[in-house]
C-alpha cells in the first residue's frame, strides 16, 4: 500500500490548509442555515413588521387603523425628521413608515381624493407589500360599511371584527404542516461546502500524483498501473468519507433529534451520495489544473455556479422556467429536490422517489468521472 501511504502523507502535509477550509465552510453552513430559517419563519407565519406610525388624524378611522395594525405588527413611534427616519430604516429598526394625515377620517368618509395615506417601505424590503395589502383590505372593508350608511365608529368596530376572520387552510397530510426542521437547512448548504472542500482538498492531493516527473517515474515502477490507481481511489474514498463523517458528526451534535429520525438518516445518505459526486467533480477539475491557485479558481466556479443554479442559495421557485430547465443538468439541483422530498417521508417504504433522486446524483458522479477519464486519456496522448 505504498501509494495509499503517500496519499495519506500528502493529505497530512496539507492539513492546516484543509482545516481552514473545513472550519470556515462549516461556519458558513451553520450561519446560512440559521439565517434562512429565521427569514423563512417570517415569510410564512403571520408576518410581524416593525411599523412606524404617525397618526395626525383626530377621527375614529385613524385610531381604528392603528389599533388594527397593532394586532399583527409592532407599532413604533416615528422618528422625528427625515434623516432620523432614514437612519432607523438604514439600521433596519423599522420596516415601514405610515403617515395618517390630519383630516383622514373626514376625507375618507367623503370618498374624495385618493392616496390619502403616505406609506414608505424600506428600499429593497420584500415584506412591505404585505402590510400595504393589510391596510388596503382594512380600508376596503371600512369603505363598504360607510357606503352602506353605517356611521364611522361602528364601521371601524365591525371592520376590525371582520378582519380577524381567517381562511380555513388544511394540509393534505398531517406532517405537511410541520415547519421545516433546522436540520433541513443545514443539509441545504452541504452541496456548496462539499464542492469547495472536495475540489480543493482532493484536488490538491491528486494534483501531486499528476506532476509530470512524478507520474513518469510511477509509470516505470514495478507496481502495476491498476494497483496504483486502486490505491489512489482508496485514498480518495477515505478522504471523502472523512469529510462526510466530520460534517455528519457536526450535524449530530447540532441537530440530534433530526439526525436520529428517518429524515436525518435519508439526509445523511443524500449528503453521502453528493459527496461522491463532489469527489468525482474534483477528479474532473484536476485534469485541467497545474497549480493550486488554478484549483482555487475552478473550485469557486463549480461550487458557486452549481449552488446558485442548483437552487442551493436561491429558491428554485424564484428562477425563470428556462433557468429551471437548465438547472436539471446540475447535480445539486437533484440533491436539493431530494432534500425537500425527504422532509415529507415518514417511512423507508415511502422513500421510493428519493432513491431515484440518489441514483440521478450518482449518474452525474459517473458522468463527471467518465469525462475526467476521457480528458485524462486525451492529455496522455498529446504528451
Amino acid at each position: 500500500m505504498q501509494v495509499f501511504k503517500v496519499f495519506c502523507k500528502v493529505t497530512n502535509k496539507h492539513k492546516s490548509q484543509f482545516l481552514i477550509y473545513v472550519i470556515i465552510y462549516l461556519f458558513i453552513a451553520i450561519a446560512m442555515s440559521r439565517s434562512i430559517q429565521e427569514s423563512k419563519v417570517m415569510e410564512f407565519d403571520k408576518v410581524s413588521l416593525k411599523v412606524a406610525v404617525e397618526n395626525e388624524d383626530q377621527g375614529e378611522l385613524g385610531k381604528g387603523l392603528v389599533s388594527y395594525l397593532k394586532g399583527n405588527n409592532q407599532i413604533k413611534k416615528i422618528p422625528a425628521g427625515t434623516e432620523a427616519l432614514k437612519d432607523a430604516m438604514y439600521y433596519q429598526e423599522i420596516d415601514y413608515v405610515l403617515v395618517i394625515p390630519q383630516d383622514f377620517t373626514e376625507q375618507f368618509a367623503a370618498g374624495t381624493g385618493e392616496e390619502l395615506l403616505e406609506g414608505t417601505a424600506v428600499p429593497g424590503s420584500s415584506t412591505a407589500s404585505l402590510i400595504e395589502n393589510e391596510i388596503r383590505q382594512y380600508l376596503d372593508t371600512v369603505e363598504m360599511y360607510l357606503a352602506a350608511g353605517i356611521n364611522a365608529s361602528r364601521a371601524v368596530e365591525l371592520s376590525a371584527a371582520d378582519m380577524k376572520r381567517e381562511a380555513e387552510v388544511n394540509f393534505l397530510e398531517e406532517n405537511d404542516s410541520q415547519p421545516l426542521s433546522s436540520g433541513f437547512y443545514f443539509f441545504q448548504y452541504v452541496p456548496y461546502v462539499f464542492l469547495v472542500i472536495m475540489i480543493l482538498g482532493l484536488g490538491a492531493v491528486m494534483k501531486t500524483f499528476r506532476d509530470k516527473d512524478l507520474s513518469a517515474r510511477n509509470k516505470c515502477s514495478a507496481m502495476s498501473f491498476l494497483q496504483q490507481n486502486v490505491q489512489i481511489i482508496l485514498g480518495c474514498i477515505l478522504f471523502t468519507l472523512a469529510v462526510f463523517a466530520f460534517f455528519m458528526a457536526m450535524a449530530f451534535c447540532l441537530y440530534r433529534t433530526y439526525m436520529c429520525s428517518i429524515q436525518g438518516l435519508l439526509s445523511a445518505v443524500n449528503a453521502l451520495v453528493f459527496s461522491i459526486c463532489a469527489a468525482s467533480i474534483a477528479w474532473f477539475c484536476v485534469q485541467f489544473v497545474r497549480s493550486m491557485p488554478e484549483l482555487n479558481v475552478l473550485s469557486n466556479i463549480f461550487s458557486l455556479s452549481f449552488s446558485f443554479l442548483g437552487g442551493v442559495f436561491v429558491s428554485l421557485e424564484l428562477m425563470s422556467e428556462g433557468v429551471q430547465k437548465a438547472a436539471k443538468f446540475i447535480p445539486s439541483y437533484w440533491y436539493v429536490i431530494a432534500n425537500r422530498e425527504i422532509q415529507k417521508v415518514e417511512s423507508f417504504a415511502q422513500a421510493g422517489s428519493i432513491y431515484q433522486l440518489y441514483l440521478v446524483v450518482l449518474v452525474f458522479a459517473l458522468a463527471f468521472f467518465a469525462a475526467g477519464l476521457l480528458v485524462n486519456r486525451m492529455k496522455l496522448r498529446t504528451v
Binding site: 395615506l117 357606503a147 365591525l158 387552510v169 424564484l318
Partner: protein, 383 residues
Amino acid sequence: MFFRLYFYSIRQTVRQKLIMFWSLIFPVILGTLFRAAFGGFMEEEVIFHQIPAAYVAEEGASQTFAETLKSLEEDSELVEVLETDSGKAEELLKEEKVEGIYYNRASDIEEGEKVTLTVTKQGMSQSILSSILEQYQRVFHTMGQIGRENPSGLKAAAEVLGRQRQYLKEGTISETPKSAMTDYFYALIAMNCLMGVSMGLQIAVGFKANLSDLAARRVVSGTSRYGMMMPDLAAKITIQFLCTVFAVCYLMFALKIPLGNKFGFILLTTLVGSLVGIFLGFFIGAVGTYKESVKEGICVSCMLFSSFLSGLMMGNMYRFLENNAPIVNRINPASLIVKALYSLDIYEGYEKYTQCMVSLLVIVAVLGAGAFALVRRERYASI
C-alpha cells in the same frame, strides 16, 4: 524610477493570467449567473404566473365562490382553476400539478365559511390562494353584517367592491425604486473589490525572501524597500480598480442592473474597496512565514467569508447580523462597501456614505500600517 517600475509592474501583473481571471472574468461569470438566477425576479415577469388550483364542489353547493374564481381566472389571470372531483384533485395536488384545492361544501353554515383550502406545503403560491379565500370570506361576512345592520345599504356597499381605490401614496424617502435583488449585485461588487487580495498577496510575496527568489534578490539590494514597493502597490491598485470598473460597467450597461445614478460615487467606492482588497492581501502575505499556498487559501477564504457576511450568498445576512451581532457589519469590509453603495441609493446627503468610506479608509490604514511594519527591516538568518 517610480514610473519605470510602475509600468513594469503593470505589464507583469497583466501577464498573470490567473490574477486577471480572478479580478476580471470571475465577477463577470458570477454577475451573469446572478442575472440568470434572479432574472425573473428582477423583471417581475415569471413570479406572478397563474397559480394552478383545483376546485371541488359538493352537489348543491353555492356557485358564488366558483364565479369569483372564474372572474379571477379570466380578468386578473391570477389563478388557473380546474374543476374536478375530490379523488382526482388530491392526486393532482400530490403530483404538484396544482398548488391547492378549494373544497366547497353544501352545508347550512354561513355561506363564506363553506369553502376551505387544502395544500401540501407553505409557499408563495399557497399564501396567495389562502389570501384569495380569506378576502372572499371577509367580504362575504361584511355583506352579511351590512344585511343585518342596514339592508338598504347593500347595493351601495356592493358598488364599493367594484371600485379600486388607491389609498396609499408612495413615500418620498428614496427616489430610486430598489429591488431586494440589487443587494446581491452590491455584494458582488464588494467581492470584486476584495478580489484584490490575490494581487495584494503578490506584492507581499515579492518582498518576503522566504517566499520568492525575486524577494530574496530585492532584500539584499541597496535600493530602499519602500522605493520598490510603492510603484508595485500603485500598479496593482490601478489594475484592480480598472477591473472593478469593468465589472460595474458590465453589470450596469450589459446586464442592465439598476445600481443607481451616482456613477462617480460608485467608482469612488470601488476605488476605496479595491484599496481594502489589495491591502488585505498584502497584510495576510506579510504575516508569518507560512507557505504561499496557505496564504493564498487564507486570502480566498477571507474574501469569500467577508462577501458571505455582506449577503453574497444570502440576501438577508445583513439584517440577521444587525439583529444578532451588529459589530460585524461595522468592521466587515464587504458589508461596508455594500452599505456605502446602498446609502448612495437611498440618501440625498452623504453622511452615511462618508461614514462607510471613513471606516473603509481606517481599515486600509490599519492593514497598510501593519503590513509595512511587518515587511520593514525584515532580516533572515537563513532561508
